[in-house]
């Protein structure tokens, strides 16, 4: 969104023309990154740049979303994502109301549909949703006029985490084209992994993942490169973590969850740490100035050693700080008055989610379903 060669003073008419051109495909929700173009992503990241400056001011407040109501609806536990959405909304001047499943009528058995209809009746402008079931935000977006932001759904997507990861990397690496991104950990179940694979590939980076054989889909082979039919064309599956990390520009360790071990996917956390944990020895294989990232919360001593987690290459705290700015950019893009930007396309529904699962979302309250992931 660089300026045209001419300026029109404060001429509203001409500026409005620019806006129409820029938003040829109107968007209203942020549900996933897979249907965003790289230029739409870049636009959000550029906007986050300005937002980051505001988060560093003495007075962190703007009236941009004054009079708007944003509801965060979290059906899973979360600290950083929920708090950063709340802070982002408040800095932009919106009223933010937090709803958690355990303290709402959901615990009385109210279905997701009825909860959404109730909130919809209260004239809300945005609904930030985290849900243990993949696709829940898509379902919600079909039943509300409010802008829906996916704050993590099941094993599907976590678009704002990927945006903040891109933003963090961009602040260190100008051009991501051809850069090697190593993602190590829970690939099968991690929405962060899935969203980040899509996001970094879109921006031109080469993504390599490394994980135990039990944490990738059956039809994938370690040591291969995926073709287009998988939806992750070009994704490299490293034979082992050393191969993945070797000369990487970014090393991303993902949280390994106790539930995986309980489900028999991992022999033991100690073995996981030995074979896939990121420590100083493994970081030494990466580029000298490689960044170490982790979406948090970290299990220090399991997927990441304390030494590197707090070492010079770690940008983990930066990721958290950037999270607020990136979420401000997203909320502003979706909720600013007169703005009809739609981020992500809800019409086709989420990729890789069965009709059965979608029906379950519509009819069964989350508390009655099996445990999801956090």
């Amino acid at each position: 969104m660089t300026n045209p060669t001419t300026t029109v003073g404060n001429g509203a008419a001409a500026e409005a023309t620019d806006v129409t051109e820029a938003t040829a495909a109107p968007r209203h929700h942020l549900l996933d990154l897979d249907d965003l173009s790289s230029s739409e992503i870049t636009e959000l990241l550029d906007s986050a740049e300005g937002m980051l400056e505001i988060t560093g001011r003495g007075v962190r407040k703007t009236p941009a979303l004054r009079g708007k109501t944003i509801i965060t609806m979290f059906f899973e536990n979360s600290t950083r994502t929920r708090v950063s959405f709340e802070q982002a909304g408040k800095i932009l001047g919106a009223d933010v109301i937090n709803v958690t499943a355990s303290a709402s009528s959901v615990s009385k058995g109210e279905s997701l549909l009825n909860t959404v209809k109730t909130l919809q009746a209260m004239q809300i402008d945005a609904l930030v949703v985290r849900h243990p079931h993949s696709g829940a935000p898509y379902f919600i977006s079909n039943h509300t006029d409010a802008a829906v932001v996916n704050a993590g759904d099941g094993t599907h997507a976590h678009p704002t985490q990927s945006l903040l990861d891109l933003f963090t990397v961009r602040n260190h690496i100008d051009d991501m084209t051809g850069k090697k991104i190593a993602i190590v950990g829970d690939v099968l179940y991690s929405r962060v992994a899935r969203s980040n694979i899509i996001a970094f590939q879109k921006m031109g980076a080469e993504v390599t993942v490394s994980c135990p054989n039990t944490l990738i889909p059956d039809e994938w082979q370690l040591g291969s490169v995926l073709d287009e039919s998988t939806g992750f064309g070009g994704l490299k599956l490293a034979k082992n973590v050393d191969e993945a990390v070797d000369s990487a520009d970014v090393v991303m360790a993902l949280r390994i969850q106790q539930e995986r071990q309980d489900a028999g996917h991992l022999p033991s956390l100690r073995e996981y740490s030995d074979r896939w944990g990121i420590n100083s020895k493994r970081m030494a294989l990466a580029n000298d100035r490689a960044l170490l990232m982790h979406p948090g919360p970290m299990n220090e001593g399991v997927e990441i050693s304390s030494e590197v987690a707090h070492g010079a290459q770690s940008v983990v705290e930066e990721q958290v700080r950037n999270g607020v700015a990136v979420r401000m950019a997203v909320l502003y893009a979706l909720c600013a008055p007169g703005k009809s930007t739609r981020i992500g396309n809800s019409d086709e529904g989420p990729r890789g989610i069965s009709v059965k699962e979608r029906t379950e979302i519509e009819t069964v309250p989350p508390t009655k379903r099996g445990s999801g992931k956090s």
Binding site: T6, G9, V19, E53, T62, T341
Partner: protein, 187 residues
């Protein structure tokens, strides 16, 4: 860029200020700012994104040539403070940077064109978050009239009466490759 170029050729263009005119106007404004504020000490020039930023830098350079002392220059993007964000949306908010406290200091806001006054209102509100300036003044290269708010500039490069359908285009070298103020009409 191509679309924009095509658009411009459909208009009847008239050059209102040449590069020399702009330079003389900026020099005169520098003198007026000094005259009003009596010194460049404590003075903070705040350019509004994007062309105002470069005009503020030029004013500071000009003031330095006159006084041997350059005022502090900051930048401000009042986009998020606008009362009509639909006009501004689609363009990301740019970082603001005022490298000093403005508490108790005179601030001169610098912009290219003064039109409805809504940008300036937003800028004044945004500026308040950086501290309580002793006074806020306004310098603009062009005042084209049609104010919608009770806002009046303190320093004006040129008054240009316009019709609402006309377009006042300020081009500056740092962004557009040349210095000029051009009046066009919507075709």
């Amino acid at each position: 860029m191509g679309e924009n170029g095509a658009h411009v050729t459909n208009e009847i263009e008239r050059v209102l200020l040449t590069q020399d005119d702009i330079r003389r106007a900026m020099t005169r404004i520098s003198h007026e700012i000094l005259e009003q504020n009596r010194s460049a000490n404590d003075l903070v020039l705040v350019g509004l994104q994007t062309r105002g930023v470069h005009l503020a830098k030029r004013l500071a350079e000009s003031i330095e040539r006159i006084e041997g002392f350059a005022p502090v220059v900051g930048t401000l993007d009042p986009r998020l403070w606008r009362d009509d964000p639909d006009v501004a949306s689609g363009q990301p908010s740019l970082p603001s940077d005022i490298p000093t406290s403005v508490d108790g200091k005179p601030v001169v806001l610098v912009d290219d064109v003064l039109y409805t006054g809504r940008t300036i209102r937003a800028a004044m509100e945004a500026l308040l978050d950086f501290g309580r300036a002793s006074r806020i003044q306004l310098a603009v290269l062009v005042d084209r009239g049609h104010r919608e708010l009770p806002i009046r500039p303190d320093f004006i490069g040129k008054n240009i009466p316009t019709a609402r359908g006309e377009r006042v285009q300020v081009r500056i070298t740092e962004i557009d490759g040349d210095d000029a103020v051009v009046l066009g009409r919507e075709s």
